[in-house]
Each structure stands twice: as C-alpha cells, then as structure tokens.
Symmetry: C2
Subunit: 383 residues, 2 copies
C-alpha cells in the first residue's frame, strides 16, 4: 500500500467516497468505482457502504485498494442494530466499539468518528434553529440515539476506549463533522462552532496518546465565510490537518454540486485546509455511478492543484508552466500527457477533427499562437 | 429584446460565446447553441464566428437572439483581408471601421474592441517574455498587423472615429483584453497591467462622449492573485464594469476548464467583477458543441450566483434558503424547480430509482433528514 502524508507544507490531498446503499447494494459496482477513483488519481478512498454484506464489501475493497482507506463504522453499528432490533437507536455502546474494532482489524487506515456530537454541542445547535438541521448521516444517527437513550455520545464519553483501539491497530482518527451546515444559511452557526471546540479538545487528547488525528469540516458555506472558518477551525484544533467535504458554495446546484464543491474546496485549501473530499455530480440526488466517481476525482484534483498554486507548494507551478510551454509549442501529445485527465483531451480532439493537425477546431487557421510565433520570430529577426 | 443592466450592486451577469470556425462553419449548429444558451439562462451571447458567411451568420443570430448580443468585428476584418489579399495583415484601418459599422447597423449591442493593444503596451509586454505570449485571437491579429505595417493600432489611434460609430448606433464598447495572460505564469505581468492602463484612459474618453463602456479581464491567474487584480483593474479603469473570461486558475485542466473558470470567475465576481464570460469544457481543445454550451452556461451561472451570495446581492440568499427548505421537506418537485438546471435533477433521479420515493438512492432508509425530523419532533413534544 502507498504511504501518504497529509498536512501543512504538503500538496493538498484528495479523497473519493465509495460505497453501496440500500437501493444499490452491489459490491461489483463499488469495486469498479474503486478502480476508477484510483486510476483518476484519488489519494485516498472511503467505503461508506450501507447496503449488502458490509463486512464482505469492506474486506473486498480493502483487498483491492492500493491507497489509504477510510470508513465510518457508526453506519454499520446502526444498520446492525436495525437488523437485530428493527430500531437503529437500540445499538449499544459496546456494539459500536465492537464494530470499530472489526474495521480496525480489517486494516482500515482511518475512520470518521463523530465524537463532536455531544449533549453540549447539540444544545448549542438547537439554540439557533437551522434551515436544514443535521445533514450528516453519522451525526443524525448519533443525535437521535442520544435523544432516545437520554445518554451522552459514547464516542465522546469513552474517548479513551476509542483511542485504545486506534492506538492498538495504528488507525488514524478523523474527527467527523456531524453538525456541519447543510445549507449556506446554516454556515458558521453555534452548532458548527461548538463541534469545532469539541474536536479541538479531542485533538489534544489523541495527540497525548500518540494517535494520529485530523478533523473534518463543512459542508455548505458562502465563499466570503470560508477563509475565516478555516482560520478558526485551525485555531480551535491546534492546527490539526483539516479535511473538508466541499464546502458547497450554494444550495441551488444539484447536478453541479461537484463544481460548487470545487469552488469551495479550492478556497478552503488555499486558506489552509489539507485534504479535500470530492463531491460528485450525484450529490443531493442519489448514489454516484462510476463515471461520476471518475469525474469527481479529477475535479477535486483540479481544486487541490489550484490551491497548491496559491499555497506555493513546491513543484506545483512547474506543472502549469510545462503545460503552457507544450501549448505554445502546439505539442498536442505533450499537452495530453500533462493534463489532469489525458483521456478526455484525446477524446475531445478525436471528436472534432481539424483540417490543420497543429491547430484546434476553435480557431483553425486563425490560431493566435501561430500569429504570435510569427510576431516573435519577426521581432527576433529585427534585432 | 430583453433590456439588461451590468454593474455594481446588480447580480453578476453571464455571457455565452457562440460562433462558427473554419472547420465547423455550419450556421444551424450555432443557432442550436444559441437556443441552448438562452434556455439555460445566459444573460448575453457573443457571436465569435470565423467560418462561413459571417454577415449571414451574424444576421441570423441577431434575428433569433432574444438577449443582448456582442461581436468581435476585428475577426471579420482580418478574415476579409485574408480572402482578398491572402494576408490578414493587409486589412486597412478603413476596412476595420467599415466592418465595425456593418456590425452596428445589424443591431449588435456591444462589441469587443482590442484598443488596449498599443505600441506602448506591446513594448511593455515584450519587456518580460511570457510562457504563452499573446493568446487573444483579436489581440494577436492586431499585434501582428501593427508589426507588419509598422503602425499604431487604429482602434486606439482613431478612438474618436470608433466612438462616433458606437455613439451613432447606440452600441456599447467592451474594451478587449488582447494582452490577457494565457498561462498562470504570465498573470499580472507588465503587458497585462499596461493594457489595463490604456483601457482606463479610453474609459474616460468614452464616458466623456456618453458612450457606454466596460472592460475585459483575464485569462489565466492563480487564485491568490485574483482579488488584487480585480481591485487594480477597477482602480485603473474608474470602476468601469469588469467583464472577465474565466480566469482559469490552472493551465493543466483541458477538458475541465469550464470548472477552472468557475473557480476563478466566482472569486473575480466576489471581488467586484460584474460580468462573467463562460468557458466551456472544449476550451483549449476545440470548438464547443451544443451540450458544452448548455453546461457551460449553467456552470457560469453557478459561479455568478456563488459570488452574488458573497456580495450580498438582494434576493440571492433567499433562493438558497428556499432550496434548502424544499430539501428539508423532501419536496423533490420543488427542489427541481429551484435548481439551476431542473432537467438534470429529473434525469438523475430517473436514472437511480429508489425504493422510498421520499428518499434518495444515496441514503435510502438511512436518510439523515428523516432522522433529524424525528429528533426535532420528539424535542418539540418534550417541551
């Protein structure tokens, strides 16, 4: 398996979410998506399966996955309680920790753990009613469980027990954002900020135990709030690596949320976020297919790279300059080679055949580069 | 024709470029693209045709176009010189002005005029060699013409003559960015800044004559340079409305440049740009097709709206809140209605049928909204 480092001074990393759902529980679909994600350059993948035989699916994905793999064990704990008792809120803390250990034993590299959904952070959340309430699947499962059982979140209350497992198996903790805003109107509200504070407290505890830890961020957020949010998150969490889902910069773009997320993700990463979770074009509508996954990864890499240019990550600018040199040389093979997605360059060029193989079908013989090369040649000749 | 206002305090507007090329000169293709652009919500379109009978194409587009229409007359002037003399640099200033008047007579609403490519701005450009030189088609035509003819740009030298025509026909001037950077390494270089200064000089002259004027901006630019560039452009051009093409935030994304441009466009508009020119997925590879145009318009509207949220344009946030309310109500019809592109929501939902018509195929029965509704109902019941 490829080693991976995430954090300050490094290039921004990209995650692709995979996983079955109750409506689409086919393992083979997910293995195809895994291949697509890795081929297109995902640094990590997460298995978020909620349909079919979850142990079998996770093990098959682990087997085939050459990159860092993450999971969200609370889904499986809730689903198994649902199967056993027909009520997901009847999962016991012991069952939750048992599932977490099962994932660790299977060689999962990191887990999303919604430890920041606590009695206090939920009080803060409910202080200022939201348009969209809790939109995190894990967060809403735990919040409902806490209400029905009138109990504190076991992932928070027994954080030391959690760290024992993570430490024992060398698994990194990704402190989930169960209270992330799911509407731009809900961004940076008391619930979100309260959860950040809890994350910060737990980052300190994890570090004391030597357990690797990073924190998850939103969500939905208008662009003028992003850099402030990143700065606050970094401050409250002692500069732990920040892993963001999006954020989507508007709520009105279903079908185009991968693009909304690329805008938000670029800004987040430029402001200091270290790791971007892709969003696919299926977001808010349904489960992504293989094509959505492939495109989602490329687009998220675009966002990460655009941020790396702004961050001044070593080597980032050189890539662009090489591409632009190839472009100015009208060297189409080299342009495709250097592209984020070489396949699409070949395909689009094949679809639009030109009379002049050096030019493109946009300008043809009125190619600005050819005119400019003539101008530069004449200028040099004059000297 | 629909009236349109562009500028400070208003929503960010979106333009779609259409037009034939030497390789694809079919008028009917362009009329279909025009319909697609207008249907998807373009505020304006530009006819950039360079193939086929240019007068016929422009008149047919004008006839069918219900929105503001722009053109770039220098293309036709160069192409007609090419046809007559087999050398585009043999166009005379009189021919250029004759073509401009022809476009004005045909009812074009605004024209891109590369007046800022002057002897001085070209000297500034050549002071710091670029990776990609001049990438503007109009800019490279004029720069080469100036070199071959050892003459000043007639659009600059005879700017009063140009204003006479614009004033006479009520056409707005879009001062082109012939020296825009075409590589992130070239951004904010002496050539680009010099052209901004010339644009500013001409904004003042146009305003003195009562001719409506706006200015065009880049291009390619890393995101950390965007807000400074917008502020400088606004300052040098006396706050004339700023019309930007992209900017693309990296050079390495052919096939995904519409997304790169959405990232740059959002940042530009949030920083004060007033008007975004879409970029399609075909950018840097070839001529866009109808699907590229439709998608390009939606994505550019996404960028414009994301910026409007940040700018606090009246009504912008309300749209998002209504969408998120529909989402929290699991009201799929209303979500589609409010979406930037309703068609894609219906299509994607149809492609992924779910067992529970209220839920989506991502979460099915593990829908976070249903859990959250249960939690909120129970909390209210407790009170």
């Amino acid at each position: 398996m490829r080693p991976l480092a995430i954090g300050a001074g490094l290039s921004t990393k990209v995650n692709a979410n995979l996983g079955t759902s109750p409506d689409f529980p086919d393992l083979n679909d997910e293995l195809r998506k895994l291949d697509a994600a890795v081929t297109m350059g995902a640094d990590t993948v997460m298995d978020l399966s909620t349909g079919g035989d979850l142990d079998e699916i996770r093990r098959a994905i682990r087997e085939q996955c050459p990159v860092t793999l993450g999971t969200v064990p609370i889904y499986q704990a809730a689903i198994e309680a649902g199967e056993r008792f027909d009520d997901i809120t009847r999962m016991s803390p012991d069952q939750i920790f048992e599932v977490i250990e099962r994932h660790a034993q299977d060689g999962v590299d990191f887990m999303t753990l919604h430890c920041g959904v606590t009695r206090w952070s939920l009080e803060e959340l409910d202080r200022a009613p939201r348009v969209c309430g809790i939109v995190s699947r894990g967060g809403s499962m735990l919040a409902r469980w806490m209400q029905v059982n009138d109990a504190e979140n076991p992932l928070y209350e027994q954080f030391d027990r959690l760290l024992d497992i993570l430490d024992n198996y060398g698994v990194a903790a990704s402190l989930g954002d169960g209270l992330r805003p799911g509407a731009v109107a809900d961004a940076n509200d008391p619930g979100q900020i309260a959860e950040m504070r809890v994350q910060g407290e737990l980052v300190a505890a994890a570090r004391q135990r030597g357990v690797q830890v990073f924190v998850e961020g939103p969500g939905h957020m208008p662009i003028n709030q992003i850099s402030g949010m990143v700065a606050l998150h970094k401050q409250l969490c002692q500069n732990a690596p920040l892993y963001v889902l999006g954020p989507l910069v508007t709520d009105v773009s279903p079908g185009y949320d991968h693009i909304s997320a690329a805008i938000g993700g670029t800004l987040c990463a430029a402001a200091g976020a270290d790791y971007l979770c892709y969003v696919t074009a299926a977001e808010h509508i349904g489960l992504p297919d293989e094509e959505d996954v492939a495109r989602g990864v490329v687009i998220c890499r675009l966002a990460a790279h655009a941020a790396d240019l702004a961050k001044g990550v070593p080597g980032a600018a050189q890539w662009d300059t090489e591409m632009s040199q190839a472009r100015f040389n009208l060297d189409w093979e080299r342009m495709a080679e250097l592209a984020l997605d070489p396949g699409i360059v070949h395909k689009r060029r094949g679809d639009r055949v030109t009379l002049d193989p050096q030019a493109c079908s946009m300008c043809g013989k009125f190619c600005s580069i050819k005119l400019e090369l003539a101008r530069q040649a004449a200028a040099t000749g004059d000297e």
